[in-house]
Amino acid sequence: MSWLTTITLNHFLVLAVLLFTLGMIGVMLRKNGLIVFMCIELMLNAVNLAFITFAAMHGNEVGHTMVFFVMTVAAAEAAVGLAVFVALFRNKVTVYVDEAADLKL
């Protein structure tokens, strides 16, 4: 049971996969826009964790560089996304994505 006593890089990867899956399931199943949004953040951070792990595996800093990119883009995306939900709430008094279906035939 060495995998319980010694924490290796693989543990980090497994955690990243679990977090990513959790986030993806949330994006697919939840209807509340804010929760969906948080799940997206969860997926992004899972990817970040994976990048850091791979960087440690290869012993260089390329992964770190990518993480900074992801964080920057995620911040911008969060700003835009939250603005969209604010606008949605002002118009329809809801943040549930399935209720924003005006363009559907």
Binding site: M24, V27, M28, L29, V97, D98, A101, K104
Partner: protein, 692 residues
Amino acid sequence: MTHHESEHEAVAAAPIGPGRIALWVIAAGLAALFITLRLNLSAGIDVTRWLVLIPLMPAVACLINGVFVNKLPKPLVTALAVGSVGVSFFISVILFIHLKITGEPIQQVMYSWMAAGDFSVNVSFTLDGLSGLMALVVTGVGWLIHIYSIGYMAHDESYSRYFTYLNLFTFSMLVLVLGDSLPLMFVGWEGVGLCSYLLIGFWFTDNEKATAGKKAFIVNRIGDMGFVIAMLLLFWIVGALDYTTLAAQAKTVSPMWATVICLLLFFGATGKSAQIPLYVWLPDAMAGPTPVSALIHAATMVTAGVYMIARLSFLFVLAPSAMMTVAIVGALTALFAATIGLFQYDIKKVLAYSTVSQLGFMFLGVGVGAFAAGIFHLMTHAFFKACLFLGSGSVIHGMHGEQDIRKMGGLDKLMPITSKTFFVACLAIAGIPPLAAFFSKDEILYKTFAVHYGAPSWLGAALWLTGALAAACTSFYMFRLYYLTFSGESRAPEEIKKKGIHESPYTMTIPLIVLAFLAIVGGWVGMPHIFHALPNYFEHNLEETLSVANNAVGVVHGSAMLEWGLMLISTAIALGGWIVARALYKDARSDVPARMKEKFAGIHKVIFNKYYVDEGYFYAFIRPTLNLGLFLWGFVDTYLVDGVLVKVSAWLVRSAGMGLRLVQTGNVQTYLLAFLVGAAALLAYLWQGTSL
């Protein structure tokens, strides 16, 4: 007072008549000619660069008249249309003289038309002995007919449309003869076909005339198919389509393929030049205005097939059996059409069958290897047949549209100029020495007897006999036509007599006089070689163009006795036909024709109805095609196309749409699921076989 008479008075009252204008134009043209030739010699102006102007002039006039149709004043339309062809004619004369002085064919490359790999076709023109002669005939005779048309079409409401078409025709015909590659010839070939269609159906409100136009167009397309296939085969085998390369590499074509190609080309020629089996459109083509019949359906377009064979003579000599076919078809057409001409009563129909017959003589000439003689007959035929057609047009004009020679007679007193020029042209076509066709037709018949390239001797003699019989018929029906139309008492109906039968205006009679003059002297440029003292300029002119073919055919060593003998027989035949026709039809006094008609009623009926060829074609080709069309429409289109294809395919698309519509939920989360599944499948595919 009819409008014809009022026009006569207007002509008399005007200070300068159109005849005098024509004389001034000719004088000015001659002056311009001499000045240019002097400049060319002294100041070094390069006249060879004017070559493209020959076809371009009528094209520009056609564009202007065509764009502003019915908007320009009539004198301007006339000046543009007639002037442009006149300028083309003078440039042709200048360049032809230049060619004769330098001896170098003139070539002008305009631009590259199409190029693919090693294959390329230029838009380029060449003027050698053959194409120069053709350009002279087209622009010269064409110009006279343009001038004639001023008078003939004066009262037509579509005056400018008529000249637009006529200019377009001249342009196309010049591209056909001057172009130096087969594709360019084909452009002209189709262009003249289109103009022929447009001008036959010129008075398209008359259903019969519109139908005649369609018939000509469709029959010509059948022939063109042969031309196109032959062209593609040549491209496939030789890989080039310009005459220079073709002539240089003609030897690489195997005899079998040469025969196939030449037969296909000849099939194209039978359509354009109205030979058996595709001659049926030409007699119907007489529905067009008479100057059109003269220009397109006698002097120029219908001779395109003869020109094409002479141009590709280097190819035809490689296929003796194809040449034999050409000769046989030519001789049969000559006799066949001549016999139909014997019994026709429509003045233009007689001339139409005569044209088919004379074209047969030309094909007989080129078919037996006498290429120069064929082209010689082409030229002289252009003169006398244009004169005959324009004369018949003058008669129709004076008779207020009547074309039935049974209602004519006695016109020699009323229309003296038309009558005299017509008589001269009759003498010429019959082959009475020393007029034009005596030299050209005799040359063909002599060469048929003596050369018969690719055919056995007995066939040469048989072809000669066929040709001689056709010549006898020609002489007979032409003088029959002349005497029925011009001699004796007038048989015109009262209402035509009341309107007044009159001689045509100067614009029409001057071209007649010029053409009659040419019909007399036109043959003198090609004296037979038994007249040792007199040179044969004509053959000399074509020597370079036809050198390959002439070498293949070889020099004929016929005895002078034979040639004299055949010449005497030809003359006797021509005179015999004249004498018989004169005895039977002069002054319409003899009752022999009527009795003969009764005695041989059966034969007369068959020939009078043109051997029922049109009816045969109707039952053999047209009705099956119509039935096929009905079947395709009634069953295939209604049930198969509309029923099965259209409705079933529409139902399929509609149900597919209905099903697929459910997939598009508009819910991002559903799409994401699809995306996930897709990504997983892709990864699984990429990982298969890779050990982790």
